[in-house]
């Protein structure tokens, strides 16, 4: 038996897990695990043919349990997501090595468990991505859920509570999928993809609706779609730094992967399109699109309210997921490409942002946006990375986020969905406002007294951040690199493929060439710089050399406008939307609590004999009558 490349990858990943398990307490464990992630990434690159040409690499691993066949294989879709997974795992793990690891251990953290959880997450994600039938998909899904729980619960305290909330949501989602699986099985008699594909053709509308709701809801929980998003931000934000970078980059995208595989590939966008909601003009696909849009808007504006940098980023993570789903649901060549490309882009800048914030925490000990400021003079490189990251996040040129968002917007306009477009733009507006809050409150303004001795982040942390920043810029400049993979993915899931060039897309419905865009942009910057410096009228002043309200400020009073940021806007927006979801969640829990009390009362104050008598009476009466 020869090992296929996929076998090698899974074995490699399993070996990483074992290394983390057995020698994870050692000194160099972090580096060793990081190198092994690198090895996995190399193995994955050996399969690069998948990302360019398509095709399938099967694993020789397969089981038959209880009459069910389980198999695993990789195609372009899996490869694309696996690339992002392993890339972010490698960089996050690298980031964790050395300085961060030591300070984490010093604070009482269990670094062994951290590495173990990371390795477990990566392995389970690879297993999920490799799933070759619906049953192995579900197995992978649950593995990812529980592995994520482990990573989230690591930090203890608040993190455990957040993780508990997550696992409750995840279990609910998992059970919805399980139920959907059972329904599919009942009509197709098998969980193999081919069999399901045939069975879908002859499925009744009711059943299809039910399945779309079950699967969409189940997968949507992991994506943090409204109204199932409440768990995500706290859970990701409270994960130890590199872990949150990893989770923020890829974890919730597993939901998108599953949606692509099941709803798009198996059920087909066309089938979903035919599911009309009675008495309205919209169908299931529109419903998904609107859910995606609201997922963009609400969490983004919630992000604006956050005073903790990690929470702010995590809330953005939810919102950005909306763009991806929106693109995929629009489902033309450009929209699909935009949605899928956004997965890649989001992973890069989200990881970079979480790392930058973690670096700040590492040096200053806090992520509270009201207790930071002016760090640009102390941590200029981190500032650069954060700046690049937020430009990507806000979707502005010249970074990669611009390309994917442009594609999504363009497709919305092309397909004639102006309302959705408008809503998505509102979301972007919120993004820009809130990322400004992030960079301003951390790096701009005046440096606080207690942070005067702060140094730049250590190189073990800086290196992955810079690599990510470079990737963000390069893929912004040459979006054709990831677009090549995206095009193969589109083919695999049955969406129209986009015509890409190295600099962007080239099609009748719209073209974009980032090389030109950035060229023009930088030319403009260059001209401005030439004018600025040649005039020679600028003067360098110290950060503290400042005045406010006509008064000079003395050096012992530091000024940083950070408290109650965007007060006016916040007043306008209000907290009703987030409050309403919280209320929904609370009322469900209260309902369960109440029912539980009733049931306990039933058992506690039981007149057991009376129960027996009445049951006997009822069943006998039923028999007689």
């Amino acid at each position: 038996m020869t090992l296929t490349l996929l076998d090698e990858l899974l074995l490699f990943s399993g070996a990483t897990l074992l290394v983390a398990l057995f020698i994870g307490r050692g000194l160099a464990a972090g580096w060793m695990v990081t190198i092994l992630y690198g090895g996995q990434l190399l193995t994955l690159l050996k399969m690069a043919a998948l990302g360019y040409g398509g095709g399938i690499i099967a694993s020789s691993l397969s089981f038959t349990v209880m009459g069910q066949n389980l198999s695993w294989r990789f195609d372009a879709l899996s490869w694309f997501f696996a690339l992002i997974t392993l890339g972010s795992a490698l960089l996050s793990s690298w980031f964790a090595c050395g300085a961060w690891e030591r300070s984490y251990a010093k604070q009482g953290g269990n670094i062994w468990l951290f590495h173990l959880a990371m390795a477990l997450n990566v392995l389970s994600m690879l297993i999920l991505l490799a799933s070759g039938d619906l049953l192995s998909l579900f197995i992978g899904w649950e593995l990812v859920s529980w592995a994520g729980f482990l990573l989230m619960a690591l930090a203890g305290g608040v993190a455990t509570q957040a993780a508990m909330r997550y696992i409750t949501y995840a279990m609910a989602g998992g059970m919805a999928i399980f139920g959907g699986l059972a329904l599919v099985y009942s009509s197709s008699g098998s969980l193999q993809l081919d069999a399901v594909l045939i069975a879908v053709e002859s499925m009744s509308t009711t059943k299809l609706w039910l399945l779309v709701i079950l699967f969409g809801g189940g997968f949507g929980v992991k994506m943090g779609l409204l109204p199932f998003h409440l768990w995500q931000a706290p859970a990701y934000a409270e994960t130890p730094g590199p872990g949150s970078a990893f989770l923020g980059a890829i974890s919730s995208r597993m939901g998108l992967f599953a949606i692509l595989l099941v709803l798009v590939k198996l059920f087909g966008i066309v089938n979903i399109d035919s599911l009309k909601i009675p008495f309205t003009l919209i169908d299931a696909r529109d419903l998904l699109a609107w859910i995606a849009v609201f997922t963009i808007i609400f969490p983004t504006f919630t992000a604006m309210k956050q005073n903790d940098a990690r929470h702010l980023l995590a809330w953005h993570g939810i919102g950005q997921g909306g763009y991806m789903l929106l693109g995929v649901v629009v489902a033309d060549a450009m929209g699909g490409a935009g949605g899928l490309l956004h997965v890649f882009n989001h992973a890069t800048y989200q990881a970079a942002l979480f790392m930058a914030v973690t670096a700040v925490i590492h040096r200053t000990g806090t992520a509270d946006l009201n207790k930071l400021g002016g760090l640009v003079v102390r941590m200029p490189l981190s500032f650069m990375v954060l700046l690049i990251g937020i430009i990507g996040l806000a979707g502005l040129p010249p970074m990669n986020g611009f390309v994917s968002k442009w594609l999504v917007y363009r497709s919305l306009l092309n397909e004639g969905m102006p309302l959705l477009f408008l809503a998505a733009v509102i979301g972007t507006l919120g993004t820009i406002l809130s990322v400004y809050k992030l960079i301003h409150n951390i790096f701009l303004g005046q440096l606080r007294v207690e942070h005067e001795q702060v140094k730049e982040a250590p190189w073990s942390m800086m290196a992955p951040m810079l690599i990510l920043a470079a990737i963000i810029f390069i893929t912004g400049l040459f979006p054709g690199i990831p677009l090549a993979w995206v095009a193969s993915v589109q083919e695999v899931v049955g969406l129209p493929a986009t015509d890409y060039t190295l600099g962007g897309v080239e099609s009748v419905s719209g073209s974009l060439d980032m090389i030109w865009v950035i060229g023009v942009l930088f030319a403009g910057f260059g001209i401005g710089a030439v004018i600025f410096y040649s005039a020679g009228r600028s003067k360098r002043v110290h950060q503290l050399d400042n005045y406010a309200g006509g008064h000079f400020l003395s050096a012992d009073v530091r000024y940083q406008y950070s408290d109650n940021f965007y007060a006016g806007l916040m007043h306008l927006v209000g907290g009703w939307y987030r409050g309403s979801f919280l209320w929904l969640e609370k009322s469900v829990i209260s309902l369960i609590d109440f029912l539980s009390l009733v049931m306990q009362g039933l058992y506690r104050r039981a007149n057991a004999e009376f129960y027996l008598l009445s049951t006997a009476l009822f069943v006998m009466a039923w028999v007689v009558i």
Binding site: M66, M164, M171, L595, Y611, L612
Partner: protein, 491 residues
């Protein structure tokens, strides 16, 4: 060889009768009698299991051919549960030595013998006798913990179980009055003509409610929380793990062999759904480990009843898989609860105190909520695929309730896990943190090892379970085994 089957019931009884005398003569000798007998029983059953050609066989007790005499029916299912009874009896043996240990051990032997009898017996009234023996031995063992609450819990259980036996006897009287026989195989032959009517249904429902008391059927299971909370953990594990399953097995056998009315299945289904709802919801607010496990056990048994209600024994495989899974998990969890009794909030920091126990708890919980690839997932998978295949809306409702209940279950189990893994509060001294350790931890470890082994060997185990289920489902095989076509061929 097959005749030795009777020894698995007779020897524990013999041991129980003689134990008090022997203990008085020599304690050192007496303490080994019980385990030795059970080990021998395990050996007999294991031998039958391994060397037998997997064909069911019937043993006529007293040499009287079945419809007249009583027979033991041993198919792989019955052998499996008989083996489980002896093995669990050995595992949960009350080793504690004090002045009452002779009685306690004798009662334990009786309980094991009765459980074995429940698994093997092929006669309705004989099943009733063993059922009562189980009940009485249980009362004694629960009361043996000697606390006032245990007495109060026992008397409530006793009275409820007493009404249960009244109903059971009533059902037996109806069946006997109608058919004139008590042998299950004989009844299976006569049932289509004589029992597929109102009277048969009424008889079945009487039996269902009567036996349901032990099987934790929904409205007659109010004894469960108190008894499990006051009895010793080892006994609770045995009761929740095995005895409830055996009672369930009897109902299943009756349903499969004798009573084919769809109404019977419907009643079971409705009560099962209510059981799941009530058990899992009540467990949500439980403030104490054993009570939580007791409620969760009610919920799990409800799931088993749902599986049992599937028409034509389609749920056999699911029932078997879920029952065995629950047997292992609940036994293990109750063993952990041994060291972790008391309020859940007090458990903070106990993961650091006993990491192995905490790990086992997480493992058991994961399997219980059905995380793949642990066996619990496969058990649940067999159930939901069967349920989803039904067209009756009631079954789909069962499916929905089952899935929702799993979410609730995961929430409360992992809330406990989170408490366990929290760091201990500052004001508590280290010795105040409850520790799971010693024998019970070792026992739980045994179950954990079994669970992991099953996970690794899931494919062959699944195949074997399918064979067992197919064999147990086969009514004709049952009848032909008890009444062989060639006269005089009964063993």
């Amino acid at each position: 060889m097959n005749g030795a089957l009777a020894l698995t019931i007779a020897l524990p009884l013999l041991g129980a009768f003689l134990l008090p005398v022997l203990m008085r003569v020599s304690v050192a000798f007496g303490v080994w009698i019980g385990p030795a007998i059970l080990a021998y029983g395990c050996w007999i059953l294991g031998d039958l299991w391994l060397t037998g050609s997997m064909q069911p066989f019937s043993v006529a007790l007293g040499g009287f051919a079945p419809p007249l005499g009583i027979n033991l029916y041993a198919d792989t299912l019955a052998l499996l549960f008989a083996l489980a009874a002896q093995l669990l009896g050995l595992i949960f043996w009350p080793f504690k030595l004090d002045q009452d240990s002779a009685r306690r051990q004798a009662l334990m032997l009786l309980l094991v013998a009765a459980s074995t009898g429940l698994a093997l017996s092929g006669d309705l009234f004989n099943l009733y006798v063993f059922y009562e023996l189980t009940a009485v031995a249980t009362f004694g063992l629960v009361a043996a913990s000697g606390t006032s609450a245990a007495y109060a819990a026992t008397i409530r259980y006793l009275i409820l179980s007493g009404i249960g036996s009244v109903l059971t006897l009533f059902g037996i009287a109806l069946i006997y009055g109608q058919t004139g026989t008590l042998n299950l195989a004989h009844l299976a032959q006569l049932a289509p003509e004589q029992l597929s009517n109102e009277l048969g249904l009424a008889a079945f429902l009487s039996l269902l409610i009567g036996i349901g008391v032990k099987a934790e059927l929904f409205p007659v299971n109010t004894w469960v929380p108190e008894v499990y909370a006051t009895a010793s953990s080892r006994l609770s594990a045995f009761l929740a793990g095995l005895v409830s399953k055996l009672a369930l097995l009897i109902i299943l056998r009756l349903l499969l062999l004798v009573f084919h009315q769809p109404e019977a299945a419907q009643v079971i289904l409705i009560l099962g759904i209510l059981g799941v709802v009530s058990g899992e919801l009540a467990a949500w607010r439980a403030k104490e480990m054993r009570r939580m496990l007791a409620f969760s056990s009610i919920g799990q048994l409800g799931v088993l009843f749902i599986a049992m209600a599937l028409p034509d024994g389609q749920g056999m495989l699911a029932v078997l898989a879920l029952a065995l899974h629950h047997l292992v998990i609940k036994s293990g969890l109750f063993m952990l609860a041994d060291g972790w009794g008391g309020a859940l909030q007090r458990l903070r920091g106990s993961a650091a105190a006993s990491p192995l126990a905490a790990g086992l708890f997480v493992l058991f919980s994961l399997s219980l909520v059905g995380m793949p690839p642990l066996p619990g997932f496969w058990a649940k998978f067999t159930l939901i695929t069967e349920l989803a295949g039904q067209t009756e809306p009631l079954y789909l409702m069962g499916l929905t309730v089952f899935l929702l209940a799993t979410v609730v279950e995961a929430a409360y189990l992992f809330r406990v896990a989170a408490i366990i893994y929290q760091s201990a509060p500052q004001e508590r001294r280290p010795d105040e943190i409850p520790k799971a350790g010693g024998l019970s931890l070792a026992t739980a470890g045994l179950f954990g090892a079994g669970l992991i082994a099953t996970t690794l060997l899931i494919a062959p185990v699944g195949d074997r379970l399918q064979t067992i289920a197919a064999q147990a489902q086969d009514v004709d095989l049952y009848i032909n085994t008890v009444f062989p076509a060639t006269p005089g061929a009964s063993q």
